[in-house]
Each structure stands twice: as C-alpha cells, then as structure tokens.
Symmetry: C2
C-alpha cells in the first residue's frame, strides 16, 4: 500500500509539494486552515506581489505549469527609481532577455490547487485548522468548520503551514530545537496606483518601481489589470513613521514631500491608507527541521523578509530538493528528511541574510552615486566577460545555484569592485587580455 503523506497547509508550497508527491504515487492528504480559495473568496490586500524568478520557474516546470503562469504574469526587466523631484532612473536586472515575473499569489495558488485536484491520489480538506501535533506518534489533530476534532495518522507529515506553523510550534518544544523570530522596526502598508480611464498602465509596466528614501521606501509592482500594487515600508516609530501619520493632513503632507509624482496616480490614497492595516516583517530561523517523520518546509522552516523577492522561490526550491532526496534515497525517510534539511538549511539562512541586506540596498543604496557607479562597472564586466563575472543578483534570481554560494560570491564581487575602483582600473576594463587575467585570478 502507498505510504500516506499528510501536508499541513495548502498554500503555495503545500499545493506544489502535494503534486510532486502524487506523481511519485504516494497517497496524499492536504489539510488547509482556510476555505477553498477556488470558491472565489480569496482575499488579497495583505500580501506583497510575488516576483517569480528562475528557481520558482524551475519548480513549476516539473509540473508543466510554467506557460500557464507566465500568461497571467507581467515581466519586469529592471528597476525604475523615482527621485523626490520625480526624476526617473532605470537599472536593468540582468541581460535584455532576463526578467522577473509579477504574479498574483491568489491566482498562482488557485492554479496549483486546480492541478492537484486532477490527481486521484490527492485528497483535500479545507477549513481544517491544525490544533495539535503528536510528533512522536505521527498524529495530527485538526478542528473542522463544525468545530469537530479530526485526528489524522500518517507516514510522513510535511509542515507547509507558513511562518506561524502549528507543526513547528510543536517541534520547537522539543529539546535541542533552536528557534528565533526577529521583527523589523519597519512595517508595511499596501496602497494602489490605478489604471488610466482607458484601462492602461499609468507608468512603465515592465519594471519594478522604487521610491528610495534612505530610511524608508515605497515600491510598485504591475498587475495584469493595468493597476500597480504599491507597498510603503516605513518605521513604526520615530520622526518619519507610521505613528505620525494619522490625520488626512499628515498623510497628504508626507506624500507631498516624499512621493509627489505618485499622488496623481493614487486617487484612493487616503481611503486605502486609512483602511489597510500595517503589517509586520519578520525573519524566523529554526533547526533541526525534522522530528521523527515530520518535516518543515517553506515559511514554516524559514520565514524571510520580502526584499529579494525570493520567499516563494525559496519555498518552491524546498519542494524540488525534497523531491530529489525522495528519488535518491527511495523509501528511507530518515535519510531522505535528513539529507533535505542538511542541504536546505545553509541556503535558507543565506537567503534570509540576503533579503535583509537587500532592504538596505533598495531603500538607500540605489539612490547613491557610488552604488550606481558600482552597478555600471558590474554591467560592463557582465556584458564583456559573460561567464567570467557573474553578479550576485544574477546568481540569486536567474540561476539555480545555492543561495549560500551566491552570498559568498557576492561578497567576493564587492571586494573585487572595490579593488578595481581603488586601483583606478576602470579605464582598463575593455583591455581583454588584462581583464581576463584579473578575473581568472580572482574568480577561477
């Protein structure tokens, strides 16, 4: 008889993983706390737009969903920075054919659930909230919509229930399970740039827009409907902060000062600002990810801040790696789960660090001449020495290399760029032989 896999959580990672497991012939049971979002009751409003990139695409390829998803996505080829005076500056993410894809979390989740439903060996249960997990005996307790308790036994339990995972909660009560949660001093609020009267985009749509203001920022990502989802990241307290934005006058004055060019594009600004909540940013780390036959995946294992656009991509990569471990160590779940956690933990830590670093880059550095100069030199190196020089952004976003390798490579890049600048070698970048030698010396 096929082994029984229990997935706790039917979000992005849970629904994708259920398909991977079904393809391998397991009996899959997917329990989701909320209602079935395919019933049309999906509520947005608190989720930053997702940016699908290479790792996520690689994971979707395995289930044949890439074309479908790209059809409902908008490619973003670079960043457009808005100065306080409204001046624009463009910075490509990579080569001219490289883009990240703005996609709706809800739409993507619905497609995955639809696909999962087509597998007869996937069974879905909505409105089932996990209230207790008995890790020693592989038994989960759920409460259904009638308030009844449902006890479920299984061979393997996969925690895909997000940053506030009930399964991880049970796991970290065991000795020798490390855990940390750290909140940022910034919160965020969703706002909107609406389409024009004719339904068109009111800014360049194939880009991610940033209003960098050093200690805070606003960003905007395009949606297929012609609108942009804007997110304001701002400290909770302090001179310029959410605590001082209460009256309509305060809110408008703040936008006049910092985001003047956006005001005409945001007719619902005041209403949105007053209605939408301030949400929180947190990084969560834990280890081990495994206890007996239960395993953490996605945000349950590694909740990260959204500034590298890698939350979903990292979670999807978890699915890819676990699937590979299942293939490699067929049947032996102790070995499978241990190989998975050992492979993923250093990479999860690295992307958590990279995401925190990128917040500083996005809100502050992208506005500075020294930073733009470095990016210009990097672009020259990438264009003229492809393969010999690779940016950190490219490794994280447009490759399937380990995040940890990308983190280390990025540090090395930075030392190399400082060397080029301090030694005044910028003018010699075009000298092929000289530069190839330097690059080989540093990066071979």
């Amino acid at each position: 008889m096929a082994e029984k896999m229990i997935l706790v959580g039917g979000g992005l990672a849970g629904s994708l993983m259920s398909i991977y497991l079904a393809k391998r012939g397991y009996e899959v049971h997917l329990y989701e706390r909320r209602d079935d979002m395919r019933q049309g009751n999906y509520v947005g409003g608190r989720s930053i737009n997702l940016a699908l990139s290479t790792r996520g695409i690689t994971a979707l390829e395995k289930v044949g969903l890439v074309e479908d998803i790209l059809k409902i996505s908008i490619p973003m080829f670079g960043r457009i920075m808005h100065s306080p005076e409204g001046a624009l500056q463009y910075q490509a993410y990579g080569r001219d054919d490289q883009a990240i894809y703005s996609v709706s979390r809800g739409e993507l989740n619905i497609r995955l659930l639809q696909l999962a439903d087509a597998y007869p060996n996937i069974h879905m249960y909505f409105n089932h909230r996990c209230t207790h997990m008995d890790l020693d005996n592989n038994k989960a307790t759920f409460q259904n919509e009638n308030g009844e308790e449902v006890i479920v036994e299984g061979d393997v339990f996969l925690a895909t229930d997000g940053a506030f995972s009930a399964l991880r909660d049970a796991m970290i009560r065991n000795p020798r399970h490390d855990f940390s949660q750290n909140y940022e001093s910034h919160g965020y609020k969703e706002l909107e740039i609406v389409p024009s009267a004719t339904g068109d985009f009111r800014m360049e749509e194939k880009a991610l827009h940033i209003w960098p203001r050093s200690s805070f920022m606003m960003i905007a990502l395009p949606n297929p409907g012609g609108n942009f989802t804007c997110t304001l990241f701002l400290p909770y307290e302090g001179e310029v902060s959410f605590e001082h934005l209460n009256t309509e006058k305060e809110i408008m004055q703040f936008f006049e000062t910092y985001f003047k060019d956006a005001i005409p594009l945001m007719p619902n600004l005041l209403e949105d600002f007053k209605t939408n909540p301030v949400s929180h940013l947190t990084t969560m780390r834990t280890f081990p990810w495994v206890k007996n036959k239960s395993v953490l995946m996605g945000d349950a294992a590694h909740a990260i801040v959204p500034f590298y656009g890698q939350g979903m991509n990292c979670s999807f990569e978890d699915c890819v790696v676990l699937d590979k471990c299942i293939e490699e160590f067929s049947g032996d779940w102790d070995v499978i789960l241990d190989a998975y956690q050992k492979s993923r933990k250093p990479n999860a830590d690295a992307i958590a660090d990279l995401a925190l670093q990128n917040f500083i880059e996005m809100r502050d550095l992208v506005g500075l001449p020294e930073f733009l100069n470095k990016k210009r030199i990097e672009k020259m190196l990438v264009d003229q020495y492809p393969g010999l020089y690779r940016t950190q952004y490219e490794r994280v976003t447009f490759s399937n290399d380990g995040y940890r390798d990308a983190l280390l490579a990025g540090d090395k890049n930075d030392r190399f760029l400082n060397y080029i600048i301090s030694e005044g070698l910028e003018s010699r970048i075009e000298e092929k032989e000289f530069m190839q030698e330097k690059l080989q010396e540093w990066f071979a």
Copy 2:
C-alpha cells in the same frame, strides 16, 4: 482596594517577588504548577547547585533572610582545578573575605515560601498549571489537580514560570515580540562525590572543584551533608561524547582517562551515570518583556547557561529592580513595567553572553598557562591598586553594578592586560606612581 497581583510560578523569583509585593500592601496571588515543596516531596537531581553571590544576597537582605540562608550554605572562596594526573591548583575568586555560597535550590525555595506564607495578603495555590493567558483582558486560565479550569483576573500578571513560561509563550505570539532559543552542543549529567565513612568532606569543601578538559569538564559543589554534587558537561555527539558512553566499560574507561582522581570518591558512579538523565543547556532571549499588564521575570525573560553562577542572582536582581520601579513610579503600571524592562534587558543580554564566555573559560582556559599568567597579573593589580583596577569576576559576582557595565569593563581589562604583557610592563607593576598613572589613563 488593593490592586491584585497574580504571580504565575512559585519558584525562586516568584516566591521572592510575592514578598516584595506583599510588603507594599498589594493583594498577592501565587500560582504554582507543582505540588507544595514544603510537603517534603521536593525532587532534586536535575538542578546544578546554586551559587548565591552579592546580587542574590542584596535581594534577600530586603526580606531579612540572609542570615538564615547563609547558615544552610557553604562558602566557596575559589576554584580548585584538577589536572588529568590529579594535580591541584587553587585560584581565589576575590579577596580573602569574598566567597560565593553553595546552596540547595530546594532549601532556599522552601524558606522563601515559608516566609511568604506569613503574609496574610499572600494567597498560594499549588498544582495549578497555567494553560492559557489572555494578555489583552488580563485573565489567566489554570488547570488544578482535579483537572478543573480556574480563570483568574488580576491587575498585574508577573511571569515567574521559568524558561518554558506559558505566559511568555502567549506573549511571543504577538507581532513585534522577538524571541530566540539556542541549545548548546553540550548536555549535562548530575553525579555525586559521597562523604567519608565518618561523614566528612573528601575534598576541600570551601571551593568549587573543576576538572577542565578543554572541550568538556566536570565540576563539583559542596553540600552541607558532606557530599559534593558533581556535574559532567559533555558534548552529545562526537569523539568524546555522551553518545559513546553506554556500556559500563565505556563509562569507566572515560573516567579512568579524564577524572581518575575522582573515581575513588564516587562509589555510585556507574549507577548514577546510568540512572540520571542528560539535561540540556539553553539560552533564551526575548523582547519586549511586557504586554499590556503582564511582565516577564527571571528565566521566563532570560534563560541563561549556568557557567557564571548568575541565573538565580540575576532573577533576584529582577525583583529588586522591579520593586524600585514600583517605588519610583507609584501606581502607574505602564511606566513601572516599561522602566523595569528597559533597565533589565541590556543587563540580561550581557549576563547571557558572559555565561556563555565563562563556559569556555572554565572548561578550557583555566588549564592554560597564558590564562593563569593573566589571572596572576590581575591579582597583583587588585591587591596593590584596589579601586583602581577591578576584575570582571568581581563586578559580576561581588558587586551590584550592571552586568552590561561588567561585560564592557571586562573587555577593557583584557585589552589592558594584553598591553602590560606585550609591552613587558609586568616587572613595573610594583612602581606605584608609574602604575597609578597607567591605570588612571586606562580606567579613569
């Protein structure tokens, strides 16, 4: 009517704090998960002996318990290091009149509960386990010994329920509450050195004994009964570790190799080793410590490793500081609790760091010539320039200075000692004028 204070947890911090609050006229309710330990059913065996030092004594002075407690304690004036060959080396903790006091956790707790019981405005409830805390509405739910739910309302809730605090558990589910738990790669096991046939101590009793073995160690603290409580700190895994100590032969071989001089003093070694569990070492940090009218104290706020002997002393100091804040900001609990957490958090973080550092000192450094040389120079400085030069150990153990100041001062001491050694100034320590000038230059 007097405000109603609810203490969740009747351990050391809880029982002491209840007396402080009673003295101020509050109506105090103390709920304890376990049975009343005064009924004679106190179970030891998993708690490292406590070392009472200046902060703890200061806290007990306020309730008039010092004399009583010192009577059931044994002063330890220094460390005695045991080499693998059985050679002994003594190192004083401070001046000849400065000692730390080995005391039984159970005995101390019982005296505090007895004293608390004498206050008519203290009400105690044993066998009451906190199962839920409603922080927003100041309501705690307990389960009593009959399995019944008891819901308790109060004006202020004090979490004195230890490292696995139920109240903290509720608190960290709120946004913007940071939390971390980190386990050491070492566990510990309690063993025993028994008294002689005539009931006498079989080693020097006015000292803390250490068998430092660089990556692991054993320590022994004297008890009034003539025995020593030994604690073996050892990695869980690896070449020399608990995982390889299973058979009697393995255990004896390990002791023959590393603790040969102790074997004749430990007739119950094998039985103790096989019976007593391996316990865990963890550091827990969190912030804020306050939510609405609930506040964390002691291990619930800051669980630390035991290597500086400050766990209890730090928790008692929490009580002293909270009591001072109550006095200073009479009646305004929002101000009281905020002043308390702001004063204590940096000091709790500092003693957590110091305790981790001291593990390395105790198991490794105390055996090294360079370390002993530094300690010798420090002793010369302390003896000849009292007040001008103060050791970190003295600040932590024999003063009520902030832990954070002690941590910073210790780092500075270390830089100064390195300077003395590298400049070859050791021979000039006796030159009063020269040395006073140097010390003033560095420490004034």
